[in-house]
Symmetry: C2
Amino acid sequence: MTHEAQFAELKQRLREISDLHGAEAVLGWDQATYLPPGGAEARGRQLALLGRLGHERLVEPAIGRLLDALAPWADAQGADSDVAALVRVTRRDFDRATRVPSAFIQRLSEHAAASYHAWERARPADDFAAMRPLLEKTVELSRELAAFHPGYANPYDALIDLAEDGMTVATVRALFTELRAGLVPLIAAIRACPEIDDRCLEGAFPEAAQQAFGEQAIRAFGYDYGRGRQDKTAHPFMTKLGRGDVRITTRYRSDNLSDGLFSTLHEAGHAMYEQGIDDGLDGTPLFTGTTSGVHESQSRLWENLVGRSLPFWRHWFGVLQAAFPGALDDVDVDTFYRAINKVRASLIRTEADEVTYNLHVMLRFDLELALLEGTLAVADLPEAWHARMHSDLGVSPPDDRDGALQDVHWYGGIVGGAFQSYTLGNIMSAQFFAAARRDLGDLDHQIGAGHYAPLRAWLTDRIYRHGRKFTAPEIVRRATGQPLSIAPYLAYLNTKYGALYRL
Amino acid sequence: MTHEAQFAELKQRLREISDLHGAEAVLGWDQATYLPPGGAEARGRQLALLGRLGHERLVEPAIGRLLDALAPWADAQGADSDVAALVRVTRRDFDRATRVPSAFIQRLSEHAAASYHAWERARPADDFAAMRPLLEKTVELSRELAAFHPGYANPYDALIDLAEDGMTVATVRALFTELRAGLVPLIAAIRACPEIDDRCLEGAFPEAAQQAFGEQAIRAFGYDYGRGRQDKTAHPFMTKLGRGDVRITTRYRSDNLSDGLFSTLHEAGHAMYEQGIDDGLDGTPLFTGTTSGVHESQSRLWENLVGRSLPFWRHWFGVLQAAFPGALDDVDVDTFYRAINKVRASLIRTEADEVTYNLHVMLRFDLELALLEGTLAVADLPEAWHARMHSDLGVSPPDDRDGALQDVHWYGGIVGGAFQSYTLGNIMSAQFFAAARRDLGDLDHQIGAGHYAPLRAWLTDRIYRHGRKFTAPEIVRRATGQPLSIAPYLAYLNTKYGALYRL
């Protein structure tokens, strides 16, 4: 068999796996949007089946043999070629998948379902005790999962690497330590300032008008409704159901403007990344964003660096006022801009402002590392959470509902590997934005004119179109010419919030 | 291996096939409701994959071996037992599936996709010539398909039997001949009467109010929105996405009341059948309605025998008037009742009244039989259509758009086996309704009181809960105590239309 024929066979197999994932995404999207309550159990079964079929096809020995046979031929086409990247990334996925026995996956997914189910009741009931045995088992299973992946300095490294190729506890910790050193004085300085008045964000904001305004804004960004759509869900998300079908979901609060608005911009950032991937990669593992961190960099870039900027609102504020007759008549753009950027230590990560958000992430990163390393017992987690919130943010949750039970992540089956990507995304968003500004000239002027095409074209060229061809560190270096660095992010925060709070 | 263990293995395999069909239904529903245009191609690929995986699993030799081993053990549990029915029906599906080579299925589905695609353009363009070579190939492939199934007196029998277990050309033709003999004088008598004035159905009927009224009516029927939902599509349909998830779709015209209203009642009839199947049959081939004809009997029963009856509207007409303030103020319930039952020879089957509808079906049945037998050439089909419409209904389409290009069926890949079920459904709907009336006492009074629970319970007990356990002839005999007969249907039409037209 020629290499070309082997490569065609590999692609044929990968296409089937990709179509199974696409079908799974359709079922998942429907589950979150329109599934009637009576259909929940059958849907769970259908989803489990599609997941299993996709996994079975990935771990087939024939894939390993094709990858072995193709590696030298693929590498000969150049490390940056689609072919070499495809073989390289598939090899990584294949090795990761084959290392984990299917009996373990079965155990893990059954436990994950049970834990998630219990958490859905335990969180509103503020019942950490009910979750304790389940979380203990989750920690144990997470350690077991890490142990299937050899060759890491720290077992936790394996879990981080699964989400963020090439990242380790050491690299993340170094970045976070440096970032913390920059954030703490900024937060202290802001805390000494008078509070910003953000009452203009509260009021009566009809959902239909929120939806229409958000749609107008993200259409202007370049989100393509011909290759996507927007629906309502309890928790906003972005999902790709197949080529040309990248959907977002939103949640609105009729008494508050910012929740629905900024989550729309956020999910549109994720979606434009997926819509911007080269169609030639369709049907392969390269046809998705490269890592959670880089993905988050795009949602945060469009949400925060564009969507919470003064130039953006100089263009849009009049449109917003017109969309809600009467509600914002007495507000000027500067007041609005200050309100949407108010910094205040708070209990809930997903509602945190740009500056304090990262402290929430660091808290989770450190606590989950301690859980995995065994230096923190699950029983002591609520107390550790309280103490850390108090020392880091000066606020402390009155209960576990808004404390250690807050995020679904630990209760969805795995402890470790998820949270760091949120802050990595923030860091990268500023680094990408600074590089785009350098290349595009007066970016503020373009944004102020409602003109996003140059920025989106730059992001598409440097990041989006490559899909998963490169790792996060490679993408950063290619896009910006520099290694990953927190300097642009700290500069961005210091400049923006220095001006806002007149520091 | 014990029989119990073999049976468990069979059920495990069938459950997977059923979950694949469910996943396929989710993708199909989304394709018709919310899929963005850009996602069409990928969705086609995903659907084809799921269809193929389901088929591959059904034709596995292991299924045949299990069925062989289980048959005597299953039969020993009694022909009416779930176990015996499961083995019997699975054997039928297995034999039918294994007889057709997968290379043929591939050829057929590629041709079907090409033909459907071409028809979508050819019908609006009134371009029968463009469809002619495709339809010729469809006829050829349909004959080939029939030939894979041996043992039928007429090759067309195989195609009918695939949709209507136990029916043949001879039995259908005998029923249709008898029915035609009863319909022709009724239609002639009606034609001699003054036309009914149905202008009250035209006007401004806002879509949201139509939706709300339809929902209220079918909730009263017993359609369970907790195990289903309703969305808008270009063509209304019912689909089952899994246990507890049976959805319907509707199309509304804001200038006409009847289209959206009666298609809602119609699809709800299909859906209540699926919702009424015994949950214990979930995950098996028994967990669906038995044949297209029996399915249609339920949509037509709720749409026509209930929904176009005078008692029904005595209860609902006031609610309808209130739903459309001003639009029906000058109309009384008798005028409305007459309007929704107006008989008029017309060009389009799906818009035909109860009486002339069956002539449309007979026309298609006879023409497709002639195509398959080679006594009618595809090239002569438009002319034959015109001639038959003229002789049967006294009207003739000015073009092929509303003639031989009208229905999708022949252009979706197969000629033969689909149309007869519409009229069989009509016939059965009246036979079931008459038997229910006999058993339930004053059914008109119950319907007039908006009280549908007894009727639905009767239908559930006699028909719905059994799923596919029994064939259509068996279901008719069990539910009514009689073999399939046109007498109740002709009696229903003669009584109802005799009164309406004062014949």
